[in-house]
């Protein structure tokens, strides 16, 4: 009973806020609705008993990814009139994407009704960690059975990270001011940085 109420509550908010992501005119509002959707999806995960996934969803998506979204969107100066002017030009593309999504949904529902796909061991049974907490079960699978895939995923992310750094890194231009050396700054003493002068009246100081 309470599970059903909670499920419909979370699910309704996820769907409604997903609609509002598209509906709202202001991109900042869109991101905020997206965050609400993430948060309620985490609630659905808790209902499924996947509390570890739920927490990761909040930490990674709400706590880091969406903050960066918000960060970028807040600083953009978006011309709403120009955005709406492109509607007729982008409509065919949008319709095509909507059609593909609809086809995928129908396919997924059909496949679900035809019986789930069995993945995992060669004899067609899925690996299921029995009677362990979320973290232990996931850890045993990720660091045991799927260790190679997990490491490959890690290396792909590392390559992406290095790629991003390489793309955005600009070596300092020749002749530009030297890099900050904190040690040098801290070790500077007043006698190296200042000069005492006692100029005669009306003559000024030459530096």
């Amino acid at each position: 009973m309470i599970q059903a109420i909670a499920f419909y509550f979370f699910a309704a908010i996820v769907v409604a806020s997903a609609v509002m992501v598209i509906w709202s005119r202001n991109p900042v509002h869109s991101v905020l609705w997206l965050i609400l959707a993430f948060f309620n999806a985490a609630g659905l995960m808790v209902l499924l008993g996947a509390e570890f996934i739920a927490m990761l969803l909040v930490i990674v998506y709400v706590g880091a990814v969406a903050v960066l979204f918000l960060f970028v969107v807040m600083m953009l100066d978006i011309d709403f009139a120009a955005m709406r002017a492109g509607f007729s030009r982008n409509a065919p593309l949008g319709l095509a994407i909507a059609g593909i999504l609809l086809a995928e949904l129908l396919l997924a529902v059909g496949a679900y009704n035809a019986g789930g796909l069995t993945l995992g061991t060669p004899d067609g049974t899925a690996v299921q960690a029995a009677d362990a907490t979320n973290i232990e079960a996931l850890g045993a699978l990720l660091y045991g059975r799927y260790i190679v895939l997990f490491e490959i995923a890690g290396i792909i992310l590392l390559v992406a990270m290095i790629g991003a750094i390489v793309l955005t890194f600009q070596p300092p231009k020749p002749g530009a001011r030297a890099r900050q050396d904190v040690g040098k700054q801290i070790s500077r003493r007043p006698e190296e940085a200042t000069v005492m002068k006692s100029p005669p009246v009306g003559q000024g100081v030459e530096l």
């Binding site: 990761l56 909040v58 299921q128």
Partner: protein, 378 residues
């Protein structure tokens, strides 16, 4: 507490609901009360260090100062700037305040004295504290004013940066404790140091991590010397510049509730939580909650002390400290800690009782050679 309500004749579901609601209300009220007292303590400590009296007019020794301030803001007018984005402007302080209270759900004050003893307690705290940045960012943006906006930018960058190193520090603690459950982490610290000291901090690998955690918790709560989000010499009052009356007070209360939360996390993760400092039977006569509050208060005193003595960081120094010092250091210590624990056979010892118990918490060893394949239910 559920058992108590069940003994009054309520069915289990109702007893659980009533017990949880009571727990939530009691802990919220206590946290709010301690926030009021702690603001007073903060001002008194600051006053003492600056050789002045601090609040001393309202009530005996000025004890009621915070309540007088609370009443004052309650009676003031809520001003909403005409160019502000009204909805988000009003939601932002509510989010800050709610999030600051929600994290207390998994904090154990004593053995078993916790609203929700979930087994991902530490992750829950991380998740909730990462929500905290939204209150700041939303208020900064919705105010439609330049100083709050600068402050929101600074705050979000600062909080994300220091959350990374906090995450790695927590991994070290979790590796030692073998659990994400807050009570489990405290229990694992019993007799940790030489069989006598109830604290993780005495371990040579965990002491530097505690220092990193303590400094990061200063940055995470935007306390001095990292209070760049409300640097009054540059940004008026930061993200809360445009706020008045209760909406301002919610930020204020939420901020102090977060500071208290970070103090209690220091206590729970590194200083043995509700356990007495030494594993001696005589010290267990003092209730655990007293030890917990004493340790938390000690950390709050250190927060005030640092506020009064250390000058503010520059923003690039803050970022440098977070990304170039703390992140590599904590990453190195995660590797060192796991290596140390493997070398000393910590994990072998930790898994033996769990397997012997064969209860619902059995650790499943899944190797490619012999997977525990169970028939799929679908």
């Amino acid at each position: 507490m559920t058992a108590f309500f069940q003994s009054l004749g309520l069915p289990y579901e109702w007893a659980w609901t009533v017990a949880t609601l009571t727990g939530i209300i009691v802990i919220s009220l206590l946290v709010m009360f301690s926030v009021a007292m702690v603001i007073y303590v903060d001002r008194k400590v600051l006053g003492a260090i600056m050789m002045r009296r601090g609040p001393n007019v309202v009530g005996p020794f000025g004890l009621l100062q915070s309540f007088a301030d609370g009443l004052k803001v309650f009676l003031q007018e809520t001003i909403i700037p005409s160019a502000a984005n009204k909805g988000i402007f009003l939601i932002a302080p509510i989010i800050t305040f709610t999030v600051a209270l929600a994290a207390w759900a998994v904090i154990p004050f004593d053995a078993g004295v916790v609203v929700s003893d979930i087994n991902v307690g530490l992750l829950y705290i991380l998740a909730i504290s990462s929500m905290g940045v939204y209150g700041v960012v939303m208020s900064g943006w919705a105010s439609n004013s330049k100083y709050p906006f600068f402050s929101a930018m600074r705050a979000s960058a600062q909080m994300i940066s220091y959350e990374v190193s906090i995450g790695f520090v927590l991994v070290c603690v979790v590796l030692f404790a073998g659990t994400f459950n807050m009570s489990g982490i405290v229990n694992a610290q019993q007799g940790f140091g030489l069989g006598v000291i109830n604290a993780y901090v005495v371990h040579p690998l965990l002491f530097p991590m505690w220092v990193v955690f303590f400094i990061s918790s200063l940055a995470e709560t935007a306390r001095a010397p990292f209070d760049l989000t409300e640097a009054e010499s540059e940004l008026v009052a930061g993200y809360q510049t445009e706020y008045s009356s209760m909406s301002f007070a919610l930020f204020w209360l939420g901020e102090y509730a977060n500071i208290l939360l970070m103090c209690s996390l220091n206590t729970l993760l590194f200083w043995g939580g509700w356990l007495p400092p030494l594993d001696i039977p005589v010290l267990y006569m003092v209730p655990g909650i007293i030890w917990f509050l004493l340790k938390t208060f000690m950390f709050f005193f250190m927060f005030s002390w640092i506020w009064a003595t250390v000058p503010r960081y520059r923003y690039d120094q803050l970022m440098r400290l977070g990304w170039k010092v703390f992140l590599p250091m904590s990453l190195l210590f995660v590797a060192a800690t796991s290596g140390w624990l493997m070398a000393t056979g910590h994990f072998d010892r930790a898994t033996v009782p769990a397997e012997a118990a064969a209860g619902p918490t059995t650790i499943v060893h899944t190797t490619p050679a012999q997977p525990t394949a169970v028939k799929a239910t679908s």
